[in-house]
Amino acid sequence: MINLNRRKFLGYGSATVAGSLIEAPGLKALGFVHPDGKGYSHIEDEKVRKLSKIAVDAAMSAGATYVDVRLTYTKDFTLGSAGMVPGRSESIGIGIRSLSGGYWGFSSSPVWNESEAARLGKSATANAIANKSKAVPPIELSGLPDAAGGSWVMPVQIDPFEIPHEEIVDYIGGMRLFISRLEKVLTPTIGISFSSQAQEKYFFSSNNQYIYQKLYNTSGRIVFRVADQVGSSLVDIDSLTPAGVGAELIKNSSIRDYIKVHHQEALQEMQLGALPVDVGRYQVLLNRSLVASLASQSIGLSTELDRALGFEANASGTSFINSPEEMLGTLSLASPLINISASRSDAGSVSRVEWDDEGVRPISIDVIKEGKLVGLQAPREGYSWMKEYHAKRNTNFAPTGSVNSASGINSPLVFSSDLKIEADDKNAKSIDDLRADIKDGLEFKVGDVSMDFQLSTGLGIGGSVFKIQNGRRVARVINAGSIFRTSNLWKSVMELGGSKEVLRFGFPLNKGEPAQTCYHSVYAPHMVVKEMDVIDITRKA
């Protein structure tokens, strides 16, 4: 609980904890201060442009053929569930990537000044040149159709760093009280957490492209348990995964209604008897959160071109799309019902940008079209990797704008864009309609997906599974899981829900050496799979 009541809080007026009232650590000393003295003045400040240019010039003078620079200023605010412990973090970073003699070099640090920018520029090129004793063909980068650059701020309704943080604490305190008053809620089990990041990202390259963007990533979690003498059920609100929004993710007018719906569902679920899993093949209704998780891991990661070509083999793994040239356009890996696209332009998507970390405006591509692999997510360097493929077909390569980095300290990599699984609006079925069509099957409501390192097979771990008979849930099923081949599962899809019940889910993506984490969103409908191998996850061989 907070130690501040609402009236007292409102009485504070402007004298509150908020992002705008806090000096940006380190930046004041560098002179990067807003004229009103209240905050950081962003990219239009010529100082940032000058710093970037010094780094690029130093790298080019040292022998680079191409250079790009990223500067980031990142603010984080977190409220942990245990006692709502607040944590606040701010950091800046500058990273220079340099191309020379067919090799990439990269140098980064947390110091923003002219001498450091010059040192990093020289260092990045020297790192690339260190490899030159082994001659390799030059890396060719695709052209930039729009190299003008510009500035863009992700639109959010409530900037978490522009409102008093007491307001968020107070709001969450109220939410806790609201939940505790719901029927049969065990108050000690209520957990509410909130975190938000605002990152200002600057990009400048030897193409003279200059970009400023301000990005947001907000997430939260609300869990609680309802119980009576018969049983108990865990409620985990599924709409609070990482998203490209502000504090409105949790602070909105509909969230209490949404919690009530989940709460009522949990009350009904706990009245159902529990059965041990009966191993076998079942028709399965997968709820949208599991569909999204499955798509993120099996389609998102596997269609990153660098991973498909083996550039990630020593780290997170490879891809079953191990011969992109042969498989693109020919590999059938899903039911004809399945259409999945990748883009970074949808409102609320966590990877949404106007330009990626290579200065490319992201394009929307079809990844899976009527069950066939038709697109891969590629960086500018993909032009070199796929040159022969495109020459043979007389087609043009286009980078997809999928390059990202966690901060200026990290080097840029391909991370899956946001994915959209096309819903079936012809039949426009709700989850109740989909369930009603199942005579004898299972419903996986909540769970997790764990893929192998090539993303070709996986394990579904059912957190909340129900037996369906004649279109109704009749029992809870304990310890159910599923093993599957990626393409078999997607090929076995027989029905999709309508777009009315499509929900956005955000997922972390870990990649690279050293490892870094970026995020993407997946929009998923509910889905019915004709046959899945259902196992007891606690049973050994």
Binding site: V85, S107, S108, A313, N314, Q454
Partner: protein, 469 residues
Amino acid sequence: MDDTVKILNTKAVQAVIDQVKDMVRRPGSTDVSVFGWWGMGQRWARNKATLTSDQRDVRVLIRHQVEGPVSVVTNQIDSDSIAAACRMLGSYLDRVSPKETFIDMMQEPVTHNAPGAEVWSDATFNRQALQNAEVVGSVTDDAQAKGFLASGYMENAASSVVKYNRDPWGREFTTSGQITQAHCSMTIREAKGNGSGWAGGSAFDINRLDASKIAAQALEKCTLSLNPVRIEPGRYQTILEPQASSFFFSDIVAGLQRSSPEGSGGGQLYLETDMAVNRHRSKLGLRIVDERITISHDPTDPVVGTHAEPGFEAVNLIENGVLKNMWVTYEDSLKELVQKSFIGIRSSFRVQGTETKVEEMISTVKRGLLVTRISNPVSVGMLYTGTTRDGLWLIENGKLTKAVRNFRWTESPWFVLNNVEELGQAIPVFTPADIRRSLERSYSSSLTSIVAPWIKINDFSFTSTVDAI
């Protein structure tokens, strides 16, 4: 921060701590951690260097607790930034500090420094990108000559930390340390994906890492793993290489944290709760794993030791299968009022091996499997499930006979360590601790070094085949 240094120097750190001490003068306890790291990485794939990087960063964590902890983190150490961070902390403490029970009991401070090991290497710190690039040129040539594709990562890194604490009674404690780390790992794959081999190693001194040997091992495994055949899942007598066995040992060691008798208890390390007094009792003094297993932590160990730090002393965690000691956090030691000092949680340990060579272990297997490495383990209840990766072979009548398609396995670390048929030689394994994230955890516990043995297990459970090679 001086833009020419790789990691923070003592003078800069002391200035930060002095400023915070001066600015945060409130009742309660104050912690300041100043952490700096540098890493030089060499990444390669498809037989070619793909990125040579030099990264460095700083984190200053200021944490104050009156009724509940509030923390502020910045990566800027100039006085204006630290002043802003302290003001920010003050604002949060004034406005949104949560109410929590504060531990209000006195405890004798732990002031003695246990001896530490040599964990700094100038060779690692001064390593140049050119030297790493030469290694990559050589190892990729070998793979290329065989028509394979080599990928890998080599890193030399250094970090320093200073931690200051002022407790609610005004007593001050400062600890510090610096360490270097070197890692090298390689995956060599057949060009069409019909075989894959992996090898890796870690040490604080890069001179202790033999990249050529690691490359040769990965190459040999790739060659031996070509065209794997499918065999039935089931229970097999299984030899786990130290890289694979270390996962099961690590899981047990990570769980050896002692909680107070009033705590939740439960799990394999506790006896059933005594309902009469509503207290639970740990299994200290009881045998919990095979009697041939001894796991120890010694800060002075030349391979798995760490820098000197108060409260961290040599200790046998499991001795001949018997649970001898459990990690105790400072807070728990306060709650229990049972110890003057405490054993901090660390993830570095040594499992005692034997003189038995792997060839001898293989020679006594009638039908079994040899596992190089495991991947993506996830917990399902009291079990873990994951896959094998980068080298799995069938052993028949004492010989490796064929490469086998990878399996998903489902097993309990407790079952594994209670079904040991044989222990082999113990060697250091690849432990790429991410020093960049050390601030989020205890610095000491994040510096992982493990020496683990080959182990032969009866009835290891392989639950399904996987397509991945």
